[in-house]
Symmetry: C2
Amino acid sequence: MVETITSLIKSKQYIEVRKMLSEINPADIATIFSEFSEDMLPILFRILPKDIATDVFVEMSGSEQQTLIKSFSDFELKIMFEDLFLDDAVDIIEEMPANVVKRILSSSSPEVRSQINSILNYPKDSAGSIMTIEYVSLKKHMTVEQAFNHIKKTGVDKETIYTCYVTDPSRILIGIVTAKALLLADRDATVEEVMETNVIYANTLDDKEEVAKTIDKYGFLALPVVDKEKRLVGIVTVDDAIEVIQEEAEEDISKMAAITPNEKPYLESSVFSIWKARIPWLLLLMISATVTGAIIASFESALAACAVLTTFIPMLMGTGGNSGSQASVTVIRELSLGEVKLSDIFRVQWKELRVSMLCGITLGVVEFAKLMVFDSLLFGNQAITLNVAIAVSLTICLTVILAKLVGCSLPIIAQRLGFDPAVMASPFITTVVDALSLIVFFTIASSILNL
Amino acid sequence: MVETITSLIKSKQYIEVRKMLSEINPADIATIFSEFSEDMLPILFRILPKDIATDVFVEMSGSEQQTLIKSFSDFELKIMFEDLFLDDAVDIIEEMPANVVKRILSSSSPEVRSQINSILNYPKDSAGSIMTIEYVSLKKHMTVEQAFNHIKKTGVDKETIYTCYVTDPSRILIGIVTAKALLLADRDATVEEVMETNVIYANTLDDKEEVAKTIDKYGFLALPVVDKEKRLVGIVTVDDAIEVIQEEAEEDISKMAAITPNEKPYLESSVFSIWKARIPWLLLLMISATVTGAIIASFESALAACAVLTTFIPMLMGTGGNSGSQASVTVIRELSLGEVKLSDIFRVQWKELRVSMLCGITLGVVEFAKLMVFDSLLFGNQAITLNVAIAVSLTICLTVILAKLVGCSLPIIAQRLGFDPAVMASPFITTVVDALSLIVFFTIASSILNL
């Protein structure tokens, strides 16, 4: 594909290229273009049929869009941003450096500019910031026939025509009517007769994650967004909801791995920005690990008396850490999906207590067998006495139980205190658990081996 | 809400309850019902208006559905599963124990039964297993007018009417036409004139994650599914795509936390099943931690000679582990989203090398300062000599670099070898990194402190 296009362009057969491209879905064209060097983009883009150029532009990566915008004349820029759906336009602008934004806004028509600004003014992550204003609104006294004619007239440049919104003269949302309802209805019935009046809607300031959850929960194709006076100001469509749901998952995953979330795709982010997203956590965790160091130091005599104990430290801390993050990650995700509520804390702890006892005993028994059969009997490791084996196995069992209880409780407590539970995630909990496991280990060991 | 309903039912005012409920969205009714004890469900469910009962049933939890099915007469069961959309019916059946499934299938009409079976026969996670067969199909010679009449006649019980599928006499998919295109078209134009002929479709055996990605990529409301002969057999709708996207995220998160993925919600899963999902990994990781123990043992003399080194083991392993999982988790997720391809391995490694050097140096310097200023100067800890500080800081720096390179490479290598990259996730990498960090530490320490 790329070769053919390159050769065709070399031989100036632009019409051929255009014919080829007009057969392809814009999303795929964007993928194909991304194979070319960025300086080719302006040429390629101008070859595109006008009607799909905008759709391709939307699908491109931020840096590609920037290259193109640089190559645009102010007029081309104006046309482009008037063709874009407002929510797409805003998404793109939010990615651009200040100077580019300035140019886009100054070149676009006052009307478009004020619309873009109004959306840019909504707080980040609010419903308002992801909504579009291209929706079909109907009046209740219209007949189905008239409604269809209205859709025919205005529908072309609406993001969706499948859910229409019924507003009163003061733009207050009084009902919704789906295209399906209109199609199945009698042509001279009035919109009022077919419309659904108990409308589920979002407010401009609602969290976009809530909006996405609502769209998902009810299986909507779009959700209306209203202002304080319940006046309809925009809609959020299902494709935006999918994006939010994915972002949310990425955020949780990042935080669980102690990374400050970053919306830019990995390969496009600069080394420095990746460093910035990771280093604070590494520093925090490195410093907090001083605690575990101090604990070991305070048991130095015990370790000196029975050096073999040291060899178990990594295994004990590792097992504790893994057990803890199994519990915490599960609970964190369930919290952010709304499957677990704050009030469930005791149910969760009771579940984890039983799970952790099962896990703890299993691991303890296996480790005990391993120590006695392999290390002691087979490899005749003198240092592994029965008491050592008991101390280690007992510690594992207790550590796992503690780890899972801490792991499942901290996120819920964090949420109740108004922190982000994901920040309480694996690495942080690991540090807490490390400390606990060492204390348990040395206490048990020194008492059993009376050191 | 729950109180009012309870009291109304006590006073046998069923009509009141029905009126109340008919005002509410089925998804919300399901939430309200879940507040009641399960033995109330059959009564509540029978109060529901027939037309929304099925929608409520779909929104209920598996165990609630089971309670209801138990209470259903074979006739009620038959009606229920004939009203359900086929994909919903199959989702529910897949959750049910064998005996319930048997009853459902035997009570439902031969036609429905064969449809359900045909879908149940598609491999798990295939497009066929999540598709529905309730779609609108048109013929190319129909006029737009006729198309609308056809939709009016058959549309009511189709899952979506917004994308219609044009098939030839042998059911081969030859085009799609959106309700939007039909609405905007001239009423006596033929379907052939308005239909889109280069159709993007999935095959019954395609992975459902691919299907979801396609729907997301192109912003479709539904994707047609065809068999080997390109005959249309069903469609996958956007709401199913959202579900798949979420499942995928859950799976990745579970695996990253060393948990075998489990589709059942946490609070509904039995203690034993949770144990089963977690214990294999804990065992594996506990056993593999023996390596780190062995490494420590082999440097016992060095540790004996300079006991303070032991106190740094947790911090070094923790920092290494966290750095590693930051890299691995990022790469694993990018791989499963398709943002990073196998061929990107060198780009990724080069990026991580630079990031890790930045992180390593930062952490090394901070730790060095901390050791010299706080531990040595302020707290006058004799054990922290300049050489110890150098050894520790140097180890941190190297460990972080190693950890990130291992962390970003293993998942990609795993994928290339055909394993699931997420299985190479944090905990496993942590074990590898733990071993590396200890070796680095002891080698550097013994040479600098010539132990």
